[in-house]
Every structure is written in C-alpha cells, then in structure tokens.
C-alpha cells in the first residue's frame, strides 16, 4: 500500500500502524530524509517499507509513487491520500500563489494519486482520503476548508464509481494535536478540525 505525506504527523502514524498490521508500505513524502527514516524505522521492527520521495502535486510524480509501490511490492491494494497544506488568511488577504499551492497538494495531489491507483487496483482494494470537518466552510481558513470540501465530494463520487470494481473509498476527518509541516501553524494553534 501507499501512504502519501508519511514522513511525519498522521501519515507517519498511518504508515507505521499499517506496517505493524502486516502491510507492505510505500512511505511517500517530499521530505526525503524523514521519509527514508520512517521506512527504515518500519524495517527496523520487522515490517516491510520503502521510501518514495516525490511530490503528489505533480501528476507524473504521483504516477511514479504508484509505480514505486508496484515495483517494490507487486501490487497496490491500499492508498492513503494524506498530505494537507493549511494556512489561515482573511479572504481579502489571500495570496493567489499560496492558494494555488494548497489546492495543488490537497485536491489535485489526491486526484493524481487516486487516478493512478485506480488504474491498477484490484477488487478488495481501498482508498482512504484525509478530510476535515472544516469541509463545511470555516472562516479565515477558507482555502483549506474548500479543499476538504472537494475531498469529501471526491470521496463519495469515487466510492459510488468504484463500487462495481470492489474498490472502497472512504475519508477520515480526524482531530489530532499535531503540527503541520514546516511553515504550518505554530504548536499552540495546532488543534485543528
């Protein structure tokens, strides 16, 4: 299986937990050293893992993440679409470049990985997308909440579409006291929806 954005935070926890349950895990992230360390840690407790240092925001790199899983483990029967950028901004101050970057990771990155996974997944496979209860619209965080609204919509649409192929698609909307990666919220603001 593939866990994207798995070098730290929830993605790392998902990858390690799945590996302890017996899954062979591709640990994807843009943070190369951290991703390698997570994969090495999994191998250290007897699990199966390899790192895949690529950005899901780029279509060809997302395709390569899925290819990495096929090359390392022969199949892709699980995908956790985990990376998420988040920033706070009043609407009038929203920076178009930052907005675009967020959508490219949270929405398009999820799309790119799902597209490539859907090409190779067999019946019994599963995708899990990371959503957020802020999907209904949260003032001051609208880029993030809009992206999670898209993830919710994609999840339901893909679930119905892929049901006939025996592929499940679900989303989780966690509450976790984690700090998002570099450039994210300071720890005191890290309790998110």
């Amino acid at each position: 299986m593939v866990v994207t954005g798995a070098a730290q935070g929830l993605g790392r926890a998902f990858a390690e937990h799945a590996a302890r349950e017996g899954a062979a895990v591709v640990v994807n992230d843009v943070e190369g050293e951290l991703a390698e360390a997570v994969a090495a840690g999994i191998r250290g407790f007897g699990g199966r893992a390899s790192a895949s240092v690529r950005s899901v925001a780029a279509p060809e790199q997302a395709a390569a993440v899925i290819e990495d899983c096929l090359a390392a483990f022969g199949k892709v029967d699980g995908l956790v679409n985990n990376p998420g950028l988040r920033h706070e901004s009043p609407l009038a101050d929203e920076d178009p470049a930052r907005l675009k970057e967020l959508i490219e990771v949270n929405v398009l990155g999820t799309f790119h990985c799902a597209i490539n996974a859907a090409k190779v997944m067999r019946p019994g496979s599963s995708m899990v997308n990371l959503g957020s209860v802020s999907m209904v619209g949260q003032p001051g965080v609208t880029a993030y909440s809009a992206s999670k609204g898209a993830v919710a919509s994609m999840t339901v649409g893909w679930a119905v579409e892929l049901k006939s192929r025996g592929i499940r698609v679900n989303a989780i909307c966690p509450v976790a006291v984690t700090r998002m990666g570099p450039g994210g919220d300071p720890p005191e603001k890290s309790h998110r929806s």
Binding site: A23, I172, P174
Partner: protein, 55 residues
C-alpha cells in the same frame, strides 16, 4: 483507518468518518433541513432539479 483498509470492511464505502476524543462519528456534508419555497411559486425562474442528478 486500518479497519477501513482491511477485508473486514469489504462493504464499507463512501463514508466520511471522524475520529475525535476516542470516539468514531459518521459525518456528512450539511444537507437541506426544510423546504423554503414551492418550485411552482418561483414562476419557473429556476431550472427544475432532475431527480437523477442526485443519485
């Protein structure tokens, strides 16, 4: 999450679930609570929503 990826959840699909404070919730986007107008009363100003659009 592991459960959703496992064989035990073979029929579980399309769910949006929330983990919070050690509890698991099934959540959805907000849906309509009550009607606010009859379509006919709007004088055809709106396009009629075809039922099949909301599968």
């Amino acid at each position: 999450m592991t459960h959703l990826l496992s064989d035990e959840s073979a029929d579980v699909t399309g769910q949006l679930i929330r983990f919070a404070n050690g509890r698991l919730f099934v959540i959805r986007q907000m849906g309509p609570k009550e009607d606010v107008a009859e379509f006919g009363a709007l004088g055809g100003a709106l396009e009629a929503p075809p039922a099949q659009r909301w599968l």
